[in-house]
């Protein structure tokens, strides 16, 4: 047996002269594909196959029990012309993304800057601020949140100390989405850790040179820290935005799966879930899923295209 085709500069001639073309091909490529089999099966069967299938299903009426029936583009037409719940869910999701992501990143960056000043006890603070991020996706936290912002919840107990009579935040359509935005901001720990790692990459002598030239801390932040940190900001923004688009569990738990009051917490994913597994409109739900894919893809492409105008890469 000759050695397998490893990624190395060593020519695998060895005893190959006497070997047939086939056994050479086999030895060169087989180990790679053998190792790749599980991933390939999953990729073809559980990713690419389903993506294509759901594209097809989005042009059909399909209730799981009878065969899909081709209806052309009518699912997509219905989305934009005859479905107020779709419009509502878009509004809710975009509002959520637009407010939760920037605020979360601002908190993450603010605390990271504070911690990065050589604070004593940094590991402890970092761990404490990270804990909510780690626990936050759990159903238990959503349950806690529902209690916090209930009419007789902890937040109103706190406000009553100042003589303020708070509303029932969860069941008031004006505030219910904001309780979820706050829940998202509460989990600023993991982008904060990424910011901290990024801040550590900035060479200290740049600050020393700047302060010798008399630049204030404020100016140093805008002229050194922020520009050098833009790749990290960019990265965090993309990851957090995609996560925000996909958010499901908190809205589901807080509204008991309804998206109420008055669709104010009807996240896009929640609406998709209702259509697919509440009403078994699998065709329509596939159209919703494909629109989400398009939305995320457009957002990502747009971010990468515009990134060259504001993200600084030093090479």
């Amino acid at each position: 047996m000759t050695a397998p085709a490893m990624e190395a500069g060593v020519p695998h001639a060895g005893g190959a002269v006497s070997q047939s073309w086939w056994s050479r091909v086999w030895q060169n490529h087989a180990p790679g594909y053998l190792f790749l089999i599980p991933w390939l099966v999953g990729f073809l069967g559980l990713t690419i196959g389903p993506i294509i299938t759901s594209f097809y299903l989005s042009f059909t009426d399909f209730d799981l029990l009878t065969a899909p029936e081709w209806v052309g583009a009518s699912n997509y037409i219905r989305m934009f012309t005859a479905d107020p719940k779709f419009i509502a869910s878009m509004q809710v999701t975009l509002t959520f993304v637009l407010f939760s992501v920037p605020l979360k990143l601002a908190f993450a960056l603010g605390v990271a800057l504070l911690l990065n000043r050589g604070m004593r006890g940094l590991p402890l603070y970092r761990a404490l601020f990270y804990l909510p991020s780690l626990l936050g996706a759990s159903v238990a936290i959503a349950i806690l949140w529902r209690q916090l912002f209930a009419g007789d919840g902890l937040v109103n107990d706190f406000l009553s100390v100042f003589g303020i009579q708070g509303p029932s935040w969860i069941s008031n359509p004006r505030y219910s989405l904001w309780t979820l935005i706050i829940l998202s901001i509460w989990q600023f720990g993991s982008p904060m850790i990424i910011f901290l790692a990024g801040l550590r990459q900035i060479p200290q002598d740049m600050y020393e040179a700047a302060s010798l030239d008399g630049a204030s801390r404020w100016r140093q932040f805008w002229k050194i820290t922020l520009p050098l940190l833009t790749p990290v900001v960019f990265f965090n923004a993309i990851i957090q935005t995609i996560e925000a688009f996909k958010s499901f569990t908190p809205a589901f738990i807080i509204s008991a799966g309804t998206g109420n009051p008055i669709n104010s917490t009807l996240f896009y994913t929640l609406y998709l879930y209702q259509e697919a597994f509440g009403f078994f409109r699998m065709g329509y739900a596939s159209a919703l899923a494909w629109f989400l894919l398009l939305l995320v893809a457009c957002f990502t492409a747009f971010s990468f295209l515009t990134s060259k105008y504001w993200v600084h890469y030093d090479d």
Binding site: E7, P38, G42, L46, E243, A276, L292
Partner: protein
């Protein structure tokens, strides 16, 4: 003359230092106050829930943060609060999470080894496709996957939750491991290859033993994310006997509604315990994992 010259310079320095030091110290104290305040504000709800779960039923709301009487009643009530005991839910969650860890470690590391170290036709093509799936919203594959698993008769079994892990569907971990494998010196496997080691032996005897940090990170995050997962169990598990802890909690909120908060809080606290233990014991690994790879949670 030459002796006195340095003296004024010294006094200038000593004059400026106390004021500057003072300012620095005040700023640092202020920063600590702000950070401590923020941590208390952030962690207070968690502490409150923990404390509420130990209070007697009539003191769950109101009452002080340190319970006047410590009571485990809520835990006993919650444990058997549903038709099926929470013990079953915890067991199911544990089985699903541990199986997922095993699946992810095997399948993702195999794919990563192929991408990072083996040479074969089409490697770059497949790798590019794998990277593209990193950003894919799961909703797009959801419905066809559901139809497929339903055809296979896998509804109400753990198979739809764990089989995908054995097929390396979590591209993120493949990517994570590829990055790590690339950092392992090539000389090691080149030498082994010259000695006639098979690819399998190199993977098993050289790469995996050298990759313990990344394998541990992947294992911990797989466990936590699977433990926390709500969506997949919600769709695939309808039979209460098959429920995970997260589904159990959700059913608890629906069925007992506003009545048994003590039991609900107690079970919520219990559901967070495994994650919290990981946090306590593997904090460094978790934080380094996030810092170096930019994980979302």
């Amino acid at each position: 003359m030459t002796v006195t010259a340095p003296a004024p310079r010294l006094t200038v320095v000593t004059e400026a230092t106390p004021a500057k030091l003072m300012r620095k110290r005040v700023l640092s104290v202020l920063a600590h106050v702000a950070l401590i305040g923020a941590s208390i504000l952030m962690l207070y709800p968690l502490l409150w829930m923990l404390s509420a779960s130990f209070r007697p039923e009539n003191e769950i709301f109101g009452g002080t943060l340190i319970p006047s009487v410590w009571s485990l009643d809520s835990y006993f009530r919650g444990w058997d609060g549903l038709r099926v005991s929470f013990g079953t839910f915890f067991w199911n969650s544990l089985v699903i999470s541990v199986t997922s860890v095993v699946g992810n470690l095997i399948a993702c590391s195999m794919a990563a080894f192929a991408f990072a170290r083996l040479r074969f036709k089409g490697r770059n093509f497949w790798f590019a496709l794998m990277l593209m799936t990193l950003m894919l919203p799961g909703q797009v594959t959801l419905i066809p996957q559901y139809v497929l698993f339903r055809e296979l008769g896998w509804i109400d079994t753990i198979l739809p939750l764990v089989v995908p892990k054995f097929l390396a569907v979590d591209a993120f971990f493949v990517f994570l491991m590829v990055q790590f494998f690339r950092g392992i010196p090539r000389e090691l496997d080149e030498a082994a290859m010259m000695d006639g080691c098979s690819a399998w032996r190199i993977y098993w005897k050289i790469m995996l033993p050298l990759s313990m940090p990344v394998l541990a990170t992947a294992a911990i995050f797989t466990f936590i994310w699977t433990w926390d997962d709500f969506f997949a169990p919600l769709i695939y598990l309808n039979e209460m006997k098959q429920y995970t802890v997260m589904l159990g909690l959700r059913t608890f909120t629906d069925s007992t509604g506003e009545s048994d908060f003590g039991g609900l809080f107690a079970m919520s606290v219990l559901s967070l315990v495994p994650i919290f233990l990981f946090f306590l014991f593997f904090q460094r690994l978790l934080i380094e994992g996030i810092a170096t790879t930019g994980m979302k949670r």
